[in-house]
Symmetry: none
Subunit: 213 residues, 4 copies
DNA sequence: AATGAATGAGGGTTCATTCAT
DNA sequence: TATGAATGAACCCTCATTCAT
């Protein structure tokens, strides 16, 4: 016999959905207003609940931030892994990584935070996040070196180049809105294409001018 | 008639020096910790005075932020003006502007703030700063269009290109330290050279690898 | 007619057992951490259930406290009554009361709370408890007076003496653990013997040195 | 020339007086309502200032509690030291210590807290306070042993006797008011006299009945 | 010019309690 | 009977700002 209860779409599923909504909201507001500039009361109001209700889904405001940072690092390493398998030389791997990463962090369903105040993460959380971020940047520099070796990337300073590219990419979170004329995929393609031209040994003749598939 | 005051001419000078020290300190800490993550007590302690003493030099914490933002915009427009007079085509003007701007905002004596939380500026201040920023970005896009017309810049989407370049440039404030192997001038040259290659119709064969004059 | 319910006679019994377990746990933690220092979440966790489940057995946290206080006063009056029937003079009645009372409040199965923050009981509860406590203390003073009259107790100030003895007795809840070398009975005997010597007209030559039946 | 400023009775003196007033108030309320039952808002209101103002004199609520506990332990060790110099046998030293200690902790100017919820002190503070308390109790037991050796105290269990006496003494904080018929000195004398009779080898014939010098 | 004291507003967090399930 | 979610009030603490000195 089927009871009402068994008909209810799994309870845990609902809970997880609410939790992700919270994380997305938090990421959005953290990115705009900064961690310290965001109050839990703001988040709660946007979500239509009380401050105290948030604690059903998260242990603290700091955990919220940590999860958003972790999501960004997850996006980074997944992109790196996929690109490593698909790209055939250093430049391709590098550029693929950046494109996938950018698509992920500006995705509507994501809850990534990249730009953040020093000292907002707790020391333990910071250790984890900074560690992963440093590793990611190191891997990126390795790809640049690989590209220089295989002739796909011009001679340059890998450290500086990686910083420049990540700056351009992370900055997107500050100004991009998926409601404009470009969607996430188009934006990512065009922006990364621009960066690619800066270091490719075979720079293209022109760049994308308008959103296109 | 000579007054007592005019007999102590250095007084105003000293005051101005202290004020600038405060602004530099504020800019540095705002950039690292964010506006809301910085307390006046922190600033005061770093400067060796009391919170209350700061109010001798500045009307409010918000004014402090406004002045730092204004300094950044001043740097932007000064750079734009100088580059306009020196560059001989769109690309040169654009690239010169960016180089000068970057040198200025990471200069040791500057007190510029670029990356900042939305909602930290008061509405009136925001109107001013955002207005100037939008104008600056518009002028930059105009230079891109000019460059495409005169054949110095490849076909591209000006809005996206300007955002990408400003992202790479502003991000520098987050990671650059003048105590490293690159000084401000070297860093600015190398980073802007990288960006230039992305849009030049005559991309260079190689980029700077190590700091050099 | 037999109902389903009457077929499960242990139901009420089980419920009562759970309730008493809750009271014992509450009394123990209230005594250690204080009423305001104890959260229902703590109690619930210790008992392996949820906060909300506690409300099945008790109307409120305040009722919990009231019941613990009431248990202590019950212990007091039962002791007083029994001692009145057994003792043959004022001193014997007084000392017997104290011994029985002490044995009861430190008993493993009891759920007595004596030491408590002012203002923790609701006004109505406080009226009841304070009323009973005052009555108990008055009866104790009466026994002291009786003892002085019949020559079993030395001349003294009854009010002060009763306070002193109750202080020594109630304090036991703060430090006594039945897991030590003394069991409840032994401890009660020795401690009360000590107090008895302070007011007896025929003080003993020595006191108990070690736990003994 | 005398300025107004130099006429102002030292500023630090005023500050210290306010601070002590705060500590006395805190000790009084902590003793009555318990640590967790006392809110800083209550304290502030009683003192006629804002909650935030309290932080000018104290770093945290926990520090407030720590200072009150420390005062009690200071009273204990000062009493022990003085009594050690004045008493001529174990019993005298023990009884003198208790009397001095009691006088101190109920003194109008003191800010002692003795009875307190477990877990109210921070772990670091607890270590300090518990360490000192244990040392004090050990010294007291040593005096009992000394008294038994020199024949001034009857044979007994030192640990139990010390607990009993400290219970009677500490309990006084719960009920004594200096506004009654007994003042601090009289109360301390009478109560300790009662306890002395319990362990003296030469118990007195009678005890104090009424307050007297 | 600079300070210490004080304030009022707000922030993150906890908690006793309720309620639908 | 027992739970997870939600609430509103309270709590400790911080902070930008003011003011008398």
């Amino acid at each position: 016999m089927l009871t009402w209860k068994s008909a209810v779409p799994d309870n845990n599923e609902q809970r997880e959905k609410k939790r992700e909504t919270l994380l997305r909201e938090a990421a959005a507001v953290f990115t705009r207003r900064g961690f310290h500039g965001t109050s839990l009361a703001d988040l709660a109001e946007n979500l239509g609940v009380t401050k105290a209700a948030l604690y059903t889904y998260v242990q603290s405001k700091h955990e919220l931030l940590f999860l958003c940072h972790s999501a960004a690092m997850d996006a980074a390493f997944e992109s790196l892994k996929e690109a490593g398998a698909q790209g055939s030389n250093g430049r391709e791997k590098l550029i693929l990584t950046l494109r996938k990463y950018l698509e992920r962090i500006i995705g509507k369903q994501s809850f990534c935070v990249v730009i953040m105040e020093e000292g907002a993460l707790t020391p333990e959380h910071a250790e984890t996040i900074i560690g992963r971020r440093d590793l990611f940047e190191r891997e990126m520099r390795t790809l640049v070196v690989e590209g220089i070796s295989d002739g796909s990337i011009v001679r340059c300073n890998p450290r500086l180049v990686v910083f420049a590219m990540l700056g351009a990419v992370n900055w997107v979170l500050k100004w991009f809105s998926p409601d404009g004329v470009w969607n996430e995929r188009q934006l990512a393609f065009a922006l990364i294409q621009f960066l690619e031209r800066a270091l490719s040994t075979q720079p293209s003749e022109a760049l994308v001018e308008d959103p296109a598939l």
